[in-house]
Symmetry: C2
Subunit: 731 residues, 2 copies
């Protein structure tokens, strides 16, 4: 294994890349996400220490996760500020070692005829995720008086801020800074403490400075050629969400503490890769991109809690309000299910624990059961607005229906539970809320069912499927398939009611009339209208889809009057055409491929793929998966690679007007993993057993990765030319 | 009765008023509508001889009624063209005598120091509506050589034309011009012939000239002071729609023929007013406005056919495609029902005869029964487009749902049938299609009914009610009330099946399982959800209405970025507010006032009226009617007057961009009559009997008018201070 392949490098400095690099050089440990910015950067450069699961709302702005006061801030001065934005430099590079989860930076400044080298490495502690470590070294080829100021920048970058209405500082000595920021909405607090040590080469006394909203430990030292100035900075974050369980430790920046933490951090990653890395022989690019994606998933996994989920942009910032979407269950879950089921359990538990919020949402809309939040924050609060898009022509907010009509979200939750039960065999979640969650989701879909007078089938009307360009449609194939799956899953669980502990079982049986519900859901599943393939095998995405204008994606694009205008909504360029934003029928067929003839899978792939804009990062991996089930792995490959490369390539849309919408793409990352697992390796769970029917694309020689299934680990080997995968028990 | 009050006068010439005057000085006889333009005008001045019930479509343009070749065209030349647009004049006036249905024009030109007076009167024959008469006189105070050219202008004004692809001329002699225009779509033809006689003072020979798309009879005469030049022109129109029944007579322009026709025309109007005029003592303005409205209704009534209806803009032009809307049954019908039931029968018969079109439309949308056209042309063809509004910002067509979701149209048809049966007692229409029409409309609504799984009520979802600013709503109160009325009316007719002639009864019983349908419709009527008044008495217009923003009409207006932008649709300024375009709940309560407490009527009037933009001419009269039922006739009065004055005042919106959308407002005219009949006089039909509970506004001393009820005429007198109306049998 070539460790060079596990490095992300960027040479030189280009201010235009700052937003993008913030994501590409991301560090995180599930508790905090730290954007890949430089020490001398401030909020203008989108520095962020993004915190998981703690939110605030200011005025009419969107409710979004908090960024901690920026403990990365450091300024060096040697006659001039040592800042890549202003000072000449000979060399500047950023290297993310994503095998070890460490970011390194090196800059050689040229100031007053001196070559001053500044190197820095940093990592968020994977063992105790409240901690963040940074160690820098400065050398000069000539004697120089160097001023060091490092500490906490209280001028935090926010999209809908400022969130802190008050700071309490506690910086009695120069080497330990501490600040607590308080929010207005819920009186949350975020406490950041940074321990700073400066060795030059002996430990140097530090003084405290409070300037321009910055709390700084400062020292001025004379640095001679051959000497190294070393700055150790260990920061600690503690928030009101950590309650009594969280440890409110003071950090220590001793060299020994730093070295120990570093060693343990590297060991953690070594172990993580042992169980999760994917070797792809014959395709270095794909292997690098996929494992880089997995690095991101590891970095945002909530291991410090038992009930928490992953936002749609991970911990890369406040984009999409730090909210949890269907992305988690439908795209991200598989990776954790098969490499670290404890994390999968935590993700599922988040949904079980937010059932009350989902029931409230259902009731608010006049439905029964549980209607999960489209954009879920703590407690299942739906952060989604009724107005998600701004009309580029009028600058007015446009009424969108993501929140109220994208009803397939509850089915995603049930799908996640089903996958969890299948893959882990861990039935304990049934007693921890899964039984009620599935039942309430089934009740929700039941309350959506409509039957025409005198009719004999149930319909689901006025919804949005995965393809958001077509709003308020009837009988979306994906939605109806998923709703039926929910009814069937509820029936499955009813058969398992005896697995529940006695007291739980008693309370369930008191709460639900299982026998009556069994009949209800069975009838619902039987009578729910599922559109059939036409003579050509194609299944219409929703009622009336085939009467829409049949034009190419390019034609639709050519009709844009403004490159930023919304393709969907009531009057978008795609709305009255067959052009769709993302995999919709294809997603349903990828999930339920077993229920359809291969000819039907092929017909729909052939029909829908050319009509798909792929305007969502959730699209490519579903087409990749469907292509594999069609037996067309070579066609799946570019979609897989696109999905795997979503973040390593960077780029993508970073700004909508003046609002930052960039960030990382966990669903794409997880989708790429699904492609390998379910598509290329062809791993399925059938009747509680693992099966594998590989479909390797031509350029891949060999796939090797480990999975865990029902408590046992297996090494999976898929080789070109071999019809079956090798599953060897291991570890 | 002061005949001065029956004149509409306009002095002077103002080109800006041409479009408006075309409507105010309108002449018509149900077969043709002739806009009130001048003889020297051409298509730039919106001259039109609009024909009833004959349509054509060119390319992708809207299908619209034909205008005949313009037989009004006349040019006079006396050294200079005698044209108000270019020649100086001393006097110019237009006078419409709407008591006699004659338009007079007088212009005194000042040319070369000569005062040349030109007077002209014209009228469309009410007895034989193929004919149109015009007689002009010219005098000069000095000798003048006068050139007269009069004939047929083939350069026809069209909105979506040109409709004639070919003309055949037949003008062998100067005094008889004839031209036949042929359309492409259906190969329809329109033949216009004009007989011209010029007396100076003796009859003068005429020659023929074909110039600039004009067929002209020409003469040049020397006119001396004290002499009169007289031009008699009688025109005749015959179309392919007149089939064999229509008489294809040659017109005669002899003085005798003209005088005889004029006498009969005046007598016709005298008789018409005898049975239909409304005397309003104490309020000349209201009386004048109302009778002027009735003049329009008389002028567009289809008396030459047994099955024809009235377009939404009458015969004033091609606006709204000459299509028939719900306006006819809900607003216009009453006037004819109570003054000329034969015309009411013709209007109803049009719907009975277009049942196949309505059944086809229902089937096309996947419904059962009869879904009448929102914009009905011949055969019930729905001329309504899926795109009725242009986005002012993008200039793109906007998807509207008038055609597919304004389902209350079929109930309007049934309502008309019900009113007809009630008011005339003429059951013969049952055998002529009314039985099937009502049954098929009930079947249509039945197929719209949806029941939630496990629910106990039927709902009607995804519709537009009368208020078009709120699209795709569920359980619109008006729609559901009307649908229930349809079920109940069907049940009524089922009880009358024995009134049908034996053979018709047999075929009906073969076609429909009446006993089964009786159960079906009874259950539908019982279980259909009808929203109840809240504690405050207010009934919500549709599900979720009360959660919309509660702002004033003025606030909504102030949010317009462009004065021409559409208030409704998905993103209009009114769409997410409680501001409505027109009476909606108010219309339902006006129609079904007997079913609700007066406190409920009042609560809804108080709630909805201030939230109504009155952006439709169908709004005011419904609020007037409801105000009367609330016992608030004084508040009804301004709405009544607004409705009655819609056309006499003129003005209003004439243009949408470059498209002419002006015209007359038959629904407003008919609505004003309904206000007098049902509101102020309080006439109702209860159990087959006439009752009258007057509610006179304070400024009206006495109302006198005649009505016909079940074949008998009554004189109705309502007097201030008397609680009851006097109904005296008469004639």
């Amino acid at each position: 294994m070539d460790r060079e392949e596990w490095l992300i490098k960027e040479e030189g400095y280009d201010g235009e890349k700052t937003a993008d690099n913030g994501n590409r050089f991301f560090l995180g440990n599930g508790y905090m996400g730290v954007r890949g910015t430089l020490s001398e950067f401030t909020k203008e450069d989108l520095c962020a220490v993004n915190l998981a699961g703690i939110y605030d709302k200011v005025g009419d702005g969107w409710r979004e996760p908090l960024n901690a006061p920026n403990f990365l801030y450091t300024e060096l001065f040697a006659g001039a500020p040592l800042n890549v934005k202003t000072a000449p430099f000979e060399e500047h590079s950023l290297i993310l070692d994503f095998y070890s989860g460490i970011l390194r930076r090196k800059t050689v400044f040229l100031v007053d005829n001196k070559r001053i080298s500044y190197t820095c490495e940093r990592f968020p502690d994977m063992k105790d995720p409240h901690f963040f470590y940074e160690c820098s070294e400065v050398e000069s080829d000539r004697e120089v008086e160097l001023s060091v100021k490092t500490g906490i920048d209280l001028d935090v970058w926010d999209i809908n801020g400022p969130h802190y209405v008050r700071f309490e500082e506690n910086c009695k000595e120069g080497r330990l800074l501490e600040v607590t920021g308080f929010t207005a909405e819920d009186r949350e607090f975020v406490r950041v403490s940074s321990s700073v040590s400066v060795f030059s080469p002996e430990e140097t006394a530090l003084s405290f400075e409070n300037r321009d909203k910055k709390l700084l430990s400062t020292a001025t030292v004379l640095l001679r050629p051959g000497e190294k100035l070393k700055i150790c900075k260990v920061s600690h974050v503690f928030t009101s969400k950590d309650g009594k369980e969280g440890k409110d430790d003071r950090p220590s920046s001793s060299k020994e503490a730093y070295a120990r933490a570093r060693e343990e951090h590297i060991a953690w990653w070594e172990e993580a890769w042992d169980r999760s890395k994917v070797l792809i022989e014959g395709d270095k690019e794909a292997m690098r991109a996929l494992n880089y994606s997995l690095y991101h998933l590891h970095s945002i996994a909530p291991r410090h809690r038992k009930s928490m989920s992953i936002p749609a942009r991970g911990l890369s910032g406040q984009t999409y309000k730090g909210a949890v979407f269907w992305d988690t269950e439908m795209f991200i879950l598989d990776f954790f299910l098969f490499t670290e089921p404890e994390v999968a359990r935590t993700l599922i538990k988040y949904r079980l624990d937010t059932l009350p919020g989902a029931k409230k949402k259902a009731a608010d809309y006049g439905y029964s059961g549980a209607f999960y939040a489209w954009e879920s924050q703590e407690g299942g609060f739906d952060a989604c607005s009724d107005y998600n898009v701004t009309d580029v022509f009028t600058k007015r907010p446009m009424r969108t229906y993501f929140k109220d009509k994208q009803v397939h979200i509850s089915a995603a939750v049930v799908y996640g539970i089903r996958r969890y039960l299948e893959a882990t065999g861990d039935m304990s979640i049934l007693a921890e809320g899964a039984f009620e969650t599935v039942t309430e989701c089934a009740l929700f879909y039941y309350s959506l069912l409509l039957k025409r007078a005198g009719g004999d089938r149930y319909e689901i009307r006025d919804v949005i499927g995965p393809d958001e360009y077509h709003e308020r449609v009837n009988n979306n194939f994906y939605t109806n398939m998923m709703a039926r799956m929910v009814f069937l899953e509820a029936l499955e669980l009813f058969d398992r009611v005896n697995l529940l502990p006695a007291d739980k079982r008693a309370s369930i049986l008191e709460k639900y009339d299982i026998d009556a519900l069994r009949n209800t859901f069975r009838q619902a599943a039987e009578e729910l209208f599922i559109p059939s393939p036409g003579e050509d095998g194609v299944i219409r995405q929703f009622d009336g889809y085939f009467s829409l204008e049949d034009v190419s994606v390019e034609t639709v694009r050519s009709r844009l009057l403004d490159p930023k205008e919304y393709w969907g909504g009531a009057y978008g360029v795609a709305s009255d055409t067959r052009v769709i934003k993302q995999a919709d029928v294809a997603t349903a067929l990828a999930l339920f491929h077993d229920s359809y003839e291969k000819s039907v899978l092929n017909a729909n792939y052939n029909f829908y793929e050319p009509r798909t804009e792929h305007g969502s990062s959730l699209s490519a991996c579903m087409y990749a998966l469907l292509a594999c089930y069609c037996g067309r792995a070579d066609e799946a490959y570019p979609f897989f690679l696109k999905s795997a490369s979503a973040d390593i390539k960077g780029g993508g849309k970073q700004w909508a007007g003046l609002v930052y919408i960039g960030g990382t793409h966990p669903a794409s990352e997880g989708g790429a993993y699904m492609n390998v697992l379910r598509g290329f390796a062809g791993i399925e769970i059938k009747n509680g057993e693992l099966t594998a029917t590989p479909k390797l694309p031509g350029n891949i020689e060999r796939l090797v990765f480990k999975i865990v299934f029902r408590g046992k680990r297996y090494k999976v080997t898929v080789e070109k030319g071999r019809e079956e995968a090798i599953l060897e028990p291991c570890g």
